[in-house]
């Protein structure tokens, strides 16, 4: 039905080679082709942040990035963050501060929080709120998420 393209990129520290449909977005590639389901579909149009990943140090909505554009890049998903111990303090802070309810927005929120903390070490509340404004959460009212991110950096 459509064209496939071979790409090679680094996913969570490991080199990958994948054949992807040229119309496929990175979210679909991660979930359906590679089988990593920690990155979530919330809206498919870059409005909710549930599919946030990091690409070459930038955070972005994987639903808005063509999979073929991952070629040659360094991609980190929640699975990569959660496995290398780098973000343990952040994950622990989310758990300790009650920042998780239904949890569906959480992986994207954690990816964005990790990015915010790298860009702005020791952020204040306002900086964190601004930093996660593209990530929607329907359960928590954000307060405990903000508390967790602020505390994670102080940890």
């Amino acid at each position: 039905m459509s064209l496939k393209h071979d790409i090679e990129f680094t996913l969570n520290g490991v080199k990958r080679r994948v054949a992807v449909d040229v119309t496929m977005n990175t979210l679909a590639m991660l979930r359906d082709v590679i089988g990593l389901t920690g990155t979530k579909y919330g809206c498919g149009e870059g409005e909710c942040g549930a599919c946030t990943i990091q690409v070459d140090g930038a955070s972005l909505n994987s639903c808005l990035m063509f999979a073929v554009d991952c070629d040659g890049r360094n991609v980190t998903t929640i699975e990569g963050l959660a496995n290398d111990g780098r973000a343990d303090a952040l994950l622990d802070a989310f758990v300790e501060h009650g920042a998780v309810q239904c949890g569906f927005c959480t992986p994207g929120m954690v990816m964005q929080a990790d990015h915010v903390l790298h860009k702005h070490p020791r952020p204040d509340e306002a900086c964190v709120k601004r930093g996660i404004e593209g990530n929607l959460c329907r359960c928590t009212g954000y307060k405990k998420i903000v508390d967790a991110i602020v505390a994670a950096d102080g940890a």
């Binding site: 309810q101 239904c102 949890g103 404004e133 329907r138």
Partner: protein, 804 residues
């Protein structure tokens, strides 16, 4: 290893109640390991998609699925004609999953496809040709009750007369409806004429409440599979697995025993999964026809279009009081936009009338609702269940009446507030009631009275920023709600030989933290750490019966059930220990993983060792118990009277705003809440519930608006449907009033819905305090507020619909 019994060892008392307990499922969720329904795939699975009408109200003249069926990769295409035994779904049985002869709203299901991939299924939908004949559209409920209005479900067969093969039945879907009135509710206590005659002051206003929707972050979905023997396995996000199991069996015309529902973790609930929706039944039809597992997931746009909403309400309230501040009567007429079909939204008057009749002491109350059919989206249940709408009207009138008689609004409320021990006109009996504590605590912590006077005095000073403070209070069921003849929940508890507990509960976890709270309650009885508990709560083949997650009932009902099972386990353990160590059972207790001397705390034996001894002997026994808890509430009578809940939750929220009179923008500055929750069980969890509810209430009050014009949804996406984002949240100061309910688990009452209820009402009062302008219509967008401030909002007036 187990030398503890040799040495005298004192185990200090410890309790998990009221502590900040981490949610048991949080580590998995935070690290992306949790498998939601979207993340589950079965081998051999097909993907289902639904063709929706796109027309608002039309007759279906023909459907041609031949091209779709011919597309490679398509396994099954179905329409109503393929399911001659379709049964109607929904609260009023007025709704066929696949539409027959007529579509009544934009989201109506015409056909469905199961294919090898989502892409193929979507391509197949585009090949289905449907011919329609458009009909007049009813876009608002006032038009629906005008004489000569087009009927949404005309007789016979809901005007689906071309499909006479349908079996005759008594449902609306089969026989139609001679008018557009879906449901009516009439309630009264006392005599409002007498009440009005005794009033010194009377106010009457019309309030207009809008469409909002749940916006669960995880979109709706389901996986259905029939095994070789015809047994059905469903992966479903339902909040009501046991009652729905029976209904699904009816729709498939099979024995309910053949249906097994597994509930994967859910990406948000808030009431949205309380009914059965067409996609679930259609997914079952597809799986049955394809003889393969079928997975169906919504897109976000579909989630907006085809999910239930909060019920839009037009409400006229007439209230009165005496000069001394005594409330005299309330008369209420509401018109509910039911949408095209009837779901739980139509029944929100159950809750609304409770607030009108019983939040404050009102000697005379008269309440009428008509929920009417339109071609709009149909409304379901949503956190708060009508109470946001009712409270919006009542609490504005409380301020207005107080102003008219020149009384402080705080004093006026306290004068009329309920106390423990009162039985209301509706028969609700308040055994624990911290209402007055809620009012005074929220007022004191926010410095309400001083600010209220100061803001009012500052109204006419120069500058464009006006500060305002407003309060509102709420009453909601907090000990379940006996809307069915039973409101119970079962528990099975078993212990292994390491003193670990498996808690098998009928209560569903929908993100609210029930697993953690239930585990705490069990640990409290058995003297174990929370890590000793595994909760099983998601499989109807394993878990005991329960009536579902709704009405803020889980902590109370499932909590008491879990405690009951744990107490039985404890009794058995202590009996064994008493025999073995020649002590009286009453002298023993469980603490810190040990059997102890109750008086001294001295450890006698490690619990795990005692259990191993129990298992490894000639007459081995297991510690395995069951308990079923039925709350001491009553099913209301036909006049809606009766003590429907075992306990009632109370709360007051004070809202502070800054109104920019140049732009109409209202900034929510601070929310001070005081909630009577009975007792705090998990402080971390309950804070999260309150904060989340406050912000959901903020969205209802200020930003969220599902725009429907003549049945067409204008903003089915997060770009145009504005959820509150992190920078917009207010400062929150939440206090808990612990009234220690006698029936509640460890004294606790339900709180799930409570925090969203007061926000819009309190915000309206705050805007009035800031500007002197009353807002009668939600949401408070800059445009609406600007128009109201500049006298460009015509006074809302709705002539109450009269009961025949």
């Amino acid at each position: 290893m187990n030398v503890a019994e040799k040495k005298p060892r004192i185990i200090q008392p410890d309790s998990l109640i009221g502590k900040r307990i981490q949610k048991m499922d949080a580590p998995e969720k935070a690290s992306g390991r949790t498998r939601y329904i979207h993340d589950i795939n079965l081998s051999g699975q097909l993907h289902g998609k639904i063709l929706r009408s796109g027309r608002i109200h039309a007759l279906i003249k023909s459907i041609d699925t031949s091209a779709a069926k011919a597309l490679p990769g398509v396994h099954v295409v179905i329409t109503a004609a393929d399911i001659p035994d379709q049964r109607p779904i929904g609260v009023a049985k007025d709704h066929f999953p696949l539409k027959v002869g007529r579509v009544r709203s934009e989201r109506d299901e015409i056909a469905a496809v199961a294919a090898e991939s989502e892409e193929i299924a979507e391509a197949a939908l585009k090949l289905i040709k449907v011919e329609y004949e458009d009909l007049p559209v009813i876009g608002n409920p006032e038009d629906a009750i005008k004489p000569g209005a087009p009927l949404i479900h005309p007789e016979p067969h809901g005007a689906d007369g071309t499909h006479l093969h349908l079996k005759q039945g008594t449902s609306i879907a089969h026989k139609g409806k001679p008018d557009n009135i879906a449901m009516r509710f009439d309630y009264a206590h006392g005599d409002v004429v007498q009440g009005e005659a005794a009033s010194d002051v009377v106010v009457e206003d019309t309030f207009k409440l809008h469409y909002v929707t749940h916006c669960c972050m995880g979109v709706s979905g389901m996986i259905a599979e029939f095994d070789a023997s015809g047994n059905v396995l469903m992966y479903s996000n339902t909040q009501v697995p046991f009652l729905h199991k029976r209904e699904f069996a009816e729709y498939l015309n099979i024995d309910p025993a053949r249906i097994r529902i597994i509930q994967p973790p859910i990406g948000g609930g808030f009431g949205s999964k309380l009914d059965i929706y067409p996609f679930e039944v259609i997914c079952l039809y597809l799986a049955r026809a394809a003889r393969r597992p079928v997975k169906m997931l919504f897109t976000r746009e579909e989630e907006f279009l085809a999910s239930p909403t909060r019920q839009p309400v037009l409400l006229t309230l007439r209230s009165g009081c005496k000069k001394d501040g005594t409330l005299t009567f309330r008369q209420v007429h509401t018109l509910h936009d039911n949408g095209a079909y009837t779901s739980w939204g139509a029944t929100t008057p159950f809750v609304m009338m409770q607030t009108f009749s019983s939040l404050y002491r009102v000697p005379h109350c008269d309440y009428h609702t008509a929920a009417v059919y339109t071609n709009n989206p149909y409304a379901g249940s949503f956190r708060g269940y009508g109470n946001l709408q009712a409270t919006f009207a009542i609490e504005q009138h409380m301020d207005m009446l107080a102003e008219k008689i020149g009384m402080d609004p705080l004093e006026f409320r306290i004068k009329n507030a309920q106390d423990a021990g009162e039985v209301t006109g509706q028969g609700m009996s308040f055994k624990s009631c911290g209402f007055k504590d809620c009012i005074t605590t929220a007022a004191t912590r926010s410095d309400f009275s001083r600010k209220f006077k100061e803001n009012a005095a500052n109204r006419n000073k120069p500058g464009n920023i006006r500060r305002g403070i407003g309060m509102a209070s709420m009453l909601h069921v907090g000990g379940g709600a006996k809307i069915y003849p039973s409101d119970g929940c079962g528990t099975i508890l078993k212990m292994d030989d390491f003193a670990n507990v498996t808690l098998i509960t009928g209560a569903s976890e929908i993100g609210q933290g029930s697993e953690t709270v239930l585990s705490q309650l069990v640990c409290e009885e058995l003297g174990l750490p929370i890590s000793a508990v595994t909760v099983v709560n998601n499989d109807t083949a394993i878990t005991p019966w329960d009536v579902g997650v709704h009405a803020s009932r889980t902590t109370f009902i499932a909590g008491n059930s879990a405690i009951g099972a744990a107490k039985k386990a404890k009794a058995k353990i202590l009996a064994v220990a008493a025999k073995k160590y020649e002590a009286a059972e009453s002298d023993l207790d469980l603490r810190g993983g040990f059997v102890i001397q109750a008086a001294t705390g001295e450890a006698i034996v490690e619990l795990s060792k005692l259990l191993r001894n129990l298992h490894f002997q000639d007459k081995a026994e297991l510690v395995m118990t069951t308990f079923y808890y039925e709350p001491p509430s009553v099913h209301q009578d036909k006049g809606f009277k009766g003590d429907v809940s075992a306990a009632y939750a109370w709360g007051t929220q004070v809202v502070e705003v800054e109104v920019d009179t140049d732009t109409g923008f209202v900034k929510l500055v601070k929310v001070t809440g005081a909630h009577d929750v009975g007792r705090v069980l998990n402080r971390l969890g309950i804070e999260g519930q309150i904060e989340g509810g406050v912000v959901m209430g903020q969205g209802y009050a200020f930003t969220e608006d599902l725009m429907i014009e003549n049945g067409v949804m204008k903003n089915p996406n997060f770009r145009d449907y504005k959820l509150v984002t992190a920078p917009e949240i207010p400062e929150m100061d939440i206090a808990f009033i612990e009234s220690m309910d006698g029936e509640g688990p460890q004294g606790a009452k339900g709180v799930g819905e409570a925090p969203a209820i007061c926000m819009a009402a309190a915000a309206a009062n705050a805007i009035a305090n800031a500007t002197g302008t009353r807002m009668f219509e939600l949401p408070f967008t800059p445009e609406k507020v600007y128009r109201a401030l500049h006298g460009q909002t015509p006074k809302l007036y709705w002539k109450p619909w009269k009961a025949e």
